[in-house]
Symmetry: C2
Subunit: 407 residues, 2 copies
């Protein structure tokens, strides 16, 4: 028995500002709650309350001048207010083009759109501003334009409601992670390795409120920076350079004493923590080591920092079923393609009893995941249900995320 079935388009534009990621998803609710314990394939997950099926996925590149304008606007110290207003409306048009294109490609008509928008600024922690403490976030791309052109309601602007509830406005993907991967007898660590590495821990048989999510530290960011500096290559393809080097354990140990790694979750990291300055210190500590040893050491830093985070913040968590339960890591992101990193991670995880799995084997391609997440969040908001995960964002309550625009 199903109800409220809708076809929802999820629209995502990441901080790399490459373009627009669109996922077409069928979402509905099962009426029989006894299906709760019945796990199924991820492409057609049947949950207690929701099921979800990915129907199509596509990426549309921004035209070059638009990409340049978006990159220039991010956290810009001096931007034209008129141009920011115009960019908002222009992105609304491009998002509409993208949804209309995917509708045509897959010969489907959507009922609802969930549009994340393009982040121009994000500050999850309150800071002093004109005599008040304010946190802030800003996703641009006018939903009214999207609604008018696609002729369906649009949910947009998901992050402010979590910030208004005292959260950091991120991560919001935890709701989807929980829905896809929570399991009666398996505890799961959904580990994504992008520039920054982040994990979502879902205890076996837990409610969504027990989910923990945080950034573990550097993902590919330090590896990439070191490859760029020493080899003039943007990244270490398949981990080949690292494979030829030897890890300098002393440097890894020293870097792991940094304050970020000791911070209690929830916590988020970015270029402020693991950018230019951190890389400079790291390379300096490596001294006159061979270049490939430095890349190997950067790779080990990512692997070790993930294992450390699990040892410090995941394993000690109280969980009635943990001892008997299987503990799995489901790995996604660019780092999952770095064979040396994956090998190191496997060695680190073995003594912790963590079994390594790959996200792609669960049917939801890594590159579609965020777009799917915002389709699902839009569906929840349309039905006036909360969908932030307070234990992941640090919010002090659940909140209905986003704003609804009508066609």
């Amino acid at each position: 028995m199903t109800k409220n079935e809708m076809i929802v388009a999820g629209v995502m534009s990441g901080t790399s500002a490459d373009g627009i990621n669109v996922a077409l998803v069928r979402v509905g609710e099962t009426e029989i709650s006894s299906s709760r314990q019945k796990p199924g394939p991820v492409t057609e997950v049947r949950e207690a309350e929701r099921y979800l099926k990915l129907l199509g996925h596509a990426e549309y590149r921004y035209p070059k001048p638009v990409r340049q304008a978006v990159l220039a606007a991010m956290n810009a110290p001096r931007a034209s207010v008129a141009d920011l207003a115009r960019l908002n409306f222009l992105l609304g048009e491009l998002y509409a083009d993208a949804v209309l294109a995917i509708e045509k490609e897959f010969r489907l008509k959507v009922d609802l759109v969930g549009c994340h928008g393009q982040t121009l600024y994000h500050q999850g922690d309150p800071k002093r501003f004109l005599g008040h403490n304010v946190a802030a976030t800003w996703q641009t791309g006018e939903a009214a334009v999207l609604a008018a052109r696609v002729r369906v309601p649009v949910v947009s602007d998901f992050r402010p409601a979590d910030i208004a509830a005292g959260g950091k406005g991120a991560p919001l993907v935890s709701f989807l992670d929980y829905m896809l991967f929570h399991h009666a007898s398996r505890a799961r660590i959904v580990q994504n390795i992008g520039g920054i590495a982040n994990l979502t821990f879902i205890p076996a048989g837990s409610a969504a409120t027990a989910v923990v999510a945080f950034d573990t530290g550097p993902g590919n960011m330090v590896i990439d920076a070191v490859c760029d500096r020493l080899f003039a290559q943007p990244f270490d393809r398949a981990g080949r350079i690292a494979k030829s080097g030897r890890v300098i354990d002393r440097v890894v140990n020293e870097m792991l004493r940094g304050s970020y790694f000791r911070l209690q979750p929830p916590k988020t990291a970015g270029r402020e923590e693991f950018g230019r300055e951190f890389v400079g210190e790291f390379v300096q500590k490596c001294g006159n080591a061979r270049k490939q040893d430095i890349v190997a050491t950067a790779t080990a830093l990512t692997a070790r920092s993930i294992a450390d985070a699990i040892r410090r913040f995941v394993l000690p968590r109280p969980s009635p079923v943990r001892k008997q339960a299987v503990l799995e890591m489901i790995l996604s992101g660019g780092g999952a393609k770095n064979a040396t990193l994956v090998a190191m991670l496997k060695i680190e995880l073995a003594p912790l009893g963590v079994q390594l799995r790959f996200s792609d084997n669960y049917g939801l391609p890594s590159e579609a995941k965020e777009a799917v997440a915002f389709a699902l969040l839009a569906y929840e908001t349309w039905h006036r249900r909360a969908s932030n995960v307070p234990s992941a964002t640090g919010a002090n309550r659940v909140a209905v995320l986003g704003k609804i625009s009508f066609p």
Copy 2:
């Protein structure tokens, strides 16, 4: 018989950036459509579909640094994206403070908030931007913060949906004007004289789709500028300076030949049309006239431009009942307090058969009107009904205005 009654707070911040105007309004629907022709006092209008009663009104000033930040952000060529993001969240807090304060003052709990926000940019006509034609508008003040703190749904961001429907995003007050002033046997010109003067024409016995609204030209903008230049006074209090001067008819006639006055409605004007440049030309044409004559001439320009607009664009309109109907002007705004301007207007209107009335006598104080309008528009959006007036904004269809945020 009434239904769907709600107490709605309307929140407005004007371009002067003085602060926050809040109106508490009871809105509901009458189920008996035969009440349509029954006019009543404006404080308790009973319409075919809606009735509206103003329960309270208050103004809250921005703290000085906030006002400065708002003024600095408007159409700024170089603004900090981080500060714009923070300003959005900070204004959300101040709007929440204002609604919570008026709830306390009038001992009422609101069911819904309609928040216009603070306009940072408005460009009703499409212009070329990164290879696309885009119009744009931007109202800031985070509705998610307002919803979280007041604990009711909030409708915000009203103008983009009209722009997405091909309109100029303004004026949106026409919907309220129609509801308040449409009449079976009286044709009405709702004339507001602010910096710019704008009118809404409601033919007798007409549907909302027959409403015409546009900016007639300068309101107090040229008078104020001339007073500032010649008398170092911000405005001509009660029209005393103008009263002591003589109008230079030649200058009025020459200025009225300007292209704006000949443009067909819908049309909007601002500082681009009647700011510094226009005033410079105007003063130059006055030559070495006495200072008070120049102020009198600026005052006559406003009166004549309004009468001219009525002669050109209102009287020629086809209307089956117009010939027999009474034609009234209902005057509001700061200009209604300039006795010389009002006297001149009366003389200009007499040959056109227009009877002059004052908005304040209809029970809705001028200063509360826009806040009331956004309470009403929020009520319409909450019920998923369109509320732009295409004949006023130039939109090619009606649209549900705004975005809904949930507490």
